[in-house]
Amino acid sequence: MISSEKKEFPEKRMSPEEGGLSRAGEGATAGTEKNIAGKMEDDIVVRTESLTKIYGDLTAVDHLDLQIRKGEVFGLLGPNGAGKTTTTLMLLGLTEPDAGKATIHGLDCTRNALQVKKAVGYLPDNVGFYGTMTGRENLRFMGRINGLEGKALEERIDRLLERVGMAQAADKKTGTYSRGMRQRLGIADVLMKDPDIIIMDEPTLGIDPEGVRELMWLIRDLAERDGRTILLSSHQLYQVQRVCDRMGIFVKGKMVACGTLEELGQQIGRDGTGALELSVYPDNISLQRILKEMKGVLDIEKNSDMYVIHSSFDVRRALSKKLTEEGYTIMHLRQAGSDLDEIYRKYFEKAGEQVG
């Protein structure tokens, strides 16, 4: 076991370079970028270029450019019908894009679907199993499809069942499983083929909070300990916020923002749509004058008993100092747009304005 593990690593490190050599067409462009971006370019395992899918009048996915690096947990966020599932289906080669292309490990997802499916595990939304077979039998079947046999197969089944905490229920018919159990068996099922990349569609849907916590821990573990790349789609923000390295916000087929949580917050702040929320006592005319005269303040809105202050830079420190000097008591002061919910809402508002 140990020797075989040791052998893996050089091979694993080689694989992106081999992939790079094999796609001759991209070689030229990749070469010039390599000087600047260096290793970063090699690390991108999932890439889409103006990926588009149209259903009749509806553009489900609209010129999507997405890059996911090796070993990161990427969250696709968006409301229902934003095109998240369609994107994942195109990445798996189950749906043909109308324009653009998606590549995984440099392989075209539509043309080399089989090769791609060997490297990618997919956990569908509301995963199902063959109800007349036990959990173990279901896993065995998937393992056999992926070319495992005999002892290696049984060992992996046992190990994975242990890992997802399903060892006790493994020999029960899957028809009797609860939602959470199915989800956990689903993860074991995905891991049967030992994928580099795991795509999860709404993994937290319909699971109790404790189950979600365990699931999130497992996802993090899969990324950090095994070095797998994970793409998960969700509309449950807080859960995703905790586990994702980067997030992309999807609205009506467009990715309106992408980056880490902080980056998303900054993007909002820079746009001037998110700002400082302020509430002080006493609230009088001279207060508004003071606020307007502050350096860097662009605009002030009165929002019931709250002021929303738009500024060109962070004025919190100066503002609190000034207000204290003038004898005001600060009741509430908060940088708007710093948590995901806020970010999410802002982006939806923005996208809504553009479209509608």
């Binding site: 593990e5 893996e8 970063m40 690096r69 490990h105 199902g128 499809i145 950090e224 300990r225």
Partner: protein, 359 residues
């Protein structure tokens, strides 16, 4: 450039405890020595799927119903034959050669023969196995899990068809040979080589016939979202083929070649009317099978089309040889097989073009 969580990658390489046998079969094989191994993998996947389909069917509750249905056909067919055979011979209604084959064609007073039972109930066996082939996987949420595995999508539908065909072949041969062997014991008739050959061909016919209905059921299961809808659609088609086609054929033939005028023209039309009705009837697999089965099982059937008296003059009244009987029904066999394949091809194409989303 955005920041990447650096520790994730490096730690993975140290700690990848899970990846004991990583990628031994995944990408290494795929890129290097394709060709042979890829071909092997294809058959391997098909075999695994076939095994799963067969096992799933045998373990399902439907299998009990399936066995009961087949047993019912066998037992009542056999009962009809044994009780009807003696009467038929004593009454002089039937020729005494090829008596063994009469086990499959003789009916008692009210019980139909094995052959007509098979023509009527055989479709049920096929429909039974196929009506929820694809859509149950879809509603269970297993189909999208399956298509995201490294397999060709057609392997799914092909394996379902082959597994269904395999099970029905086993059942048909089991029931046919059971009647034959119990018939030998019960009646003391010893089958000749030709009779065994005819029986074998007849059972193959049955399998192809059931295969047609299996293909039709799979087609509906691909097209319809719910298993109930596809089952109803299958039964509708079966009823249409078994009952309405013959009614319609009569109506159309009468309209094209009226024969009830009583004049000269009506007499002239007689032949056309009959041929037209026959040909229309033959579009139904039910009729096609019944006609072919009768010809194969009864060497006394010398012709299946309308024949004029002049054509018959000089013909020797004797049984046909196996080869000659086969010559008569060869179009039926190829037609039935072609129908089966055509229907399966339609379901294949519609399945391949379908977008598979979660339930």
């Amino acid at each position: 450039m955005q920041t990447l969580k650096a520790p994730a990658d490096s730690r993975a390489k140290e700690l990848a405890g899970e990846g004991g046998s990583r990628r031994e079969d995944a990408r290494g094989e795929g890129t290097g020595s394709r060709g042979q191994s890829e071909e092997n993998r294809r058959y391997h996947v098909l075999k695994v799927l076939f095994r799963k389909e067969t096992a799933e069917f045998i373990n399902s509750r439907r299998m009990i119903l399936f066995v009961v249905l087949t047993a019912l056909i066998t037992v009542s067919g056999f009962y009809a034959a044994v009780s009807g055979l003696a009467e038929a011979i004593e009454g002089g209604n039937t020729a005494t050669d090829f008596l063994f084959l009469k086990l499959f064609t003789v009916s008692a007073n009210s019980i139909p023969s094995y052959n007509s039972l098979m023509a009527l109930m055989g479709p049920f066996i096929g429909i039974f196995m196929g009506f929820d082939a694809i859509n149950s996987e879809r509603t269970e949420g297993t189909l999208n899990r399956l298509v995201s595995q490294p397999l060709y999508r057609d392997q799914i539908i092909v394996s379902k068809f082959l597994a269904g065909l395999f099970i029905s072949a086993v059942m048909v041969f089991a029931s046919g040979l059971l009647i034959g062997s119990v018939g030998v014991i019960a009646t003391g008739l010893i089958p000749s080589g030709e009779e065994i050959g005819r029986l074998f061909i007849y059972l193959c016919f049955c399998v192809v016939y059931i295969g047609f209905w299996l293909a039709a059921a799979i087609l509906f299961s691909t097209v319809c979202r719910h298993a109930a809808t596809s089952a109803l659609a299958c039964i509708a088609v079966w009823l249409f083929c078994a009952i309405f086609v013959s009614l319609l054929a009569g109506i159309v033939a009468d309209a094209l070649y009226p024969i009830n005028g009583g004049d000269m023209q009506a007499m002239m039309n007689e032949m056309g009317n009959y041929s037209c009705e026959l040909n229309l009837n033959r579009t139904s697999p039910y009729y096609l099978f019944a006609e072919a089965a009768t010809t194969v099982l009864n060497p006394g059937v010398r012709t299946i089309n309308a024949v004029t008296v002049t054509q018959l003059s000089g013909a020797i009244s004797s049984n046909l040889t196996l080869g000659q009987s086969m010559l008569l029904v060869w179009p039926h066999l190829t037609g039935l097989a072609a129908l089966m394949l055509a229907v399966f091809a339609i379901s294949y194409v519609s399945f391949m073009r379908q977008e598979i989303r979660s339930r």
